[in-house]
């Protein structure tokens, strides 16, 4: 079993097609929707957590790419600019997962992108704007 968080970008001609449901039916994959949006220009953005067998996952992603949808691992999307982070801890109050957590000995704030669900709550809260969105 593998578990991957991915960001899917749908070009506007694909937004209304049932591509993702095929992942369940034809490729035995389960998914959790972490975020979904359609921009004013009708490009779709879907952030999914996908679980299933590795081979199914690879075939499923191949199918999706074949439909013209771009697939990016989620870890690329919310990034911390390490130079700008002052380890102030303001983000700890809003991060819903433990993606941002404090090491209680050093009081440094760690960012674990595996745990990040790209909710973006930290992005505006971070005083030096160290949390960046990269879509």
């Amino acid at each position: 079993m593998v578990r991957h968080k991915v960001v899917l970008h749908f070009p506007h001609e694909q937004v209304d097609k049932p591509i993702v449901s095929k992942l369940v039916r034809d490729y035995n994959l389960d998914f959790n929707i972490l975020k979904a949006s359609i921009t004013p220009r009708e490009e779709g953005l879907l952030v999914l957590e996908i679980t299933g067998e590795e081979a199914d996952y690879d075939r499923g992603m191949e199918y999706i790419r074949g439909c013209g949808v771009s697939v990016q691992p989620l870890s690329q999307d919310i990034r911390r600019n390490e130079e700008r982070c002052t380890h102030c801890g303001a983000c700890l109050a809003v991060c819903p997962t433990d993606a941002l957590s404090a090491d209680r000995t050093t009081m440094e704030v760690r960012f674990d992108d595996e745990e990040c669900v790209a909710c973006e709550l930290c992005v505006k809260v971070c005083p030096p704007r160290a949390m960046e969105i990269h879509y």
Partner: protein, 391 residues
């Protein structure tokens, strides 16, 4: 048996001074007792790094040709104060760039203000000056635009009227909506508690009665060297205190100055505080000369012994009711959660403890290597508890 600052400076010059941080002195006093520790240790270094709104910088822009008496001016579209002299200006850390939506789309992001401008200058970036004037016989020029960097201006001093608060509130929210404060985002119904102090590392908590810190104390300021020049605005020493003399409420503050040209954006960072405004995070480190046992006893204070008041920022703080919901220690705050009214509340700091530690270590290193001597205060700061011998 006491030491003088002059004697300690002689030891620093000979490379013999024993310098430890405010964290390290805790263990030394526990192990050796105050008498021996006071004999062995010469200086205790402290540090803090957090948003300090009452900050800013004086800049002398140098004269344009023809000369100009600046009436209004903007740097990167941030209005600066010009009512001083022809080309002296003051940048306020919380001033916002023109056309910022402020809080019109709530909560506002406040992306660029005076704090960011000061950071950009210190980082050596080029900023855009735009100035206007009414023109006089001696200063005929009416408008001036140019790009400039910190290296191009004649003088630039950080001058902060109120910094390094001695203790501060722990902010919570009793209401049922999210609020956006200078203490960060506060979730409803006591959803979180935010605090802002380096606790046992914080400068003024290690010299609670201002027995060593005064006018002329040389300090680490924004990565360079600065001085305490006065007590800060809102300096208030008539407050309740714990057994070691440390205030249990917001209390003393200091006013500081230093040459901006020697500073570093790592310790002078522009902040945008959601829904509140722009500010500047300032790094300050103060050396405490160990004059006697009393000084080292106070400097050995631990997070367990330092108490802060919990205040509701939905009604009590904005309305100024003065109500305090409870008291917690910095050890509890740092652990990640506090208990209040039978509820466990997660905590978040706004003051960076790791950077405070870095500052205390840096200052220790400067002193140990003989490149930073202690300033001899010409006057101590006002402190009721010291003057009246209350503690």
């Amino acid at each position: 048996m006491g030491k003088t600052i002059a004697e300690i400076n002689e030891r620093i010059k000979r490379g013999e001074a024993v310098v430890v941080t405010a964290e390290e002195v805790i263990g030394i006093v526990e192990e050796k007792g105050t008498a021996q520790a006071a004999r062995e240790v010469d200086v205790v270094t402290t540090g803090t790094f957090g948003p300090m709104c009452s900050s800013g910088a004086f800049v002398n822009l140098g004269h344009a040709q023809p000369r100009m008496k600046i009436h209004r001016a903007w740097l990167n579209e941030v209005p600066v104060f010009c009512g001083i002299a022809a080309v002296d200006i003051y940048i306020g850390a919380t001033e916002m760039a023109e056309h910022d939506p402020l809080n019109e789309v709530f909560p506002g992001e406040f992306r660029y203000g005076g704090g960011h401008l000061i950071e950009d200058l210190v980082a050596g970036k080029s900023v855009r000056l735009r100035a206007t004037s009414y023109g006089t016989d001696c200063y005929p020029n009416r408008s001036w635009e140019r790009d400039l960097t910190l290296a191009d201006v004649k003088e630039a001093w950080l001058f902060n009227p109120r910094n390094a608060y001695q203790n501060y509130n722990v902010a919570v929210n009793l209401s049922d909506r999210v609020i956006y404060t200078y203490m960060g985002v506060l979730r409803p119904n006591l959803g979180n508690a935010n605090y802002c102090s380096a606790g046992q590392l914080s400068p003024l908590l290690n010299d609670p009665l201002f027995r060593t810190i005064g006018i002329g104390t040389r300090i680490f300021l924004g990565g360079g060297v600065g001085y305490v020049v006065w007590h800060g605005t809102q300096h208030n020493t008539a407050v309740p205190r714990g057994p070691g003399g440390a205030p249990t409420r917001p209390a003393g503050t200091i006013s500081v100055i230093g040459d901006l040209k020697g500073m570093n954006p790592r310790y002078l960072t522009g902040y945008s505080i959601l829904g509140y405004g722009a500010s500047l995070a300032v790094g300050i480190g103060i050396p405490i000369p160990v004059l006697d046992e009393e000084v080292i006893r106070a400097a050995a204070v631990r997070d367990e012994d330092l108490v802060a008041p919990v205040v509701d920022y939905s009604i009590d703080y904005p309305q100024g009711t003065g109500r305090v919901l409870g008291e917690v220690t910095y050890a509890q705050l740092k652990s990640g959660s506090i208990d209040l009214e039978g509820k466990e509340i997660p905590t978040a700091p706004l003051s960076s403890y790791s950077r405070a530690r870095e500052i205390a270590e840096t200052l220790k290193d400067w002193i140990a290597r003989g490149r930073f001597l202690l300033g001899e205060p010409v006057e101590l700061l006002p402190c009721e508890a010291r003057e009246e011998g209350v503690v």
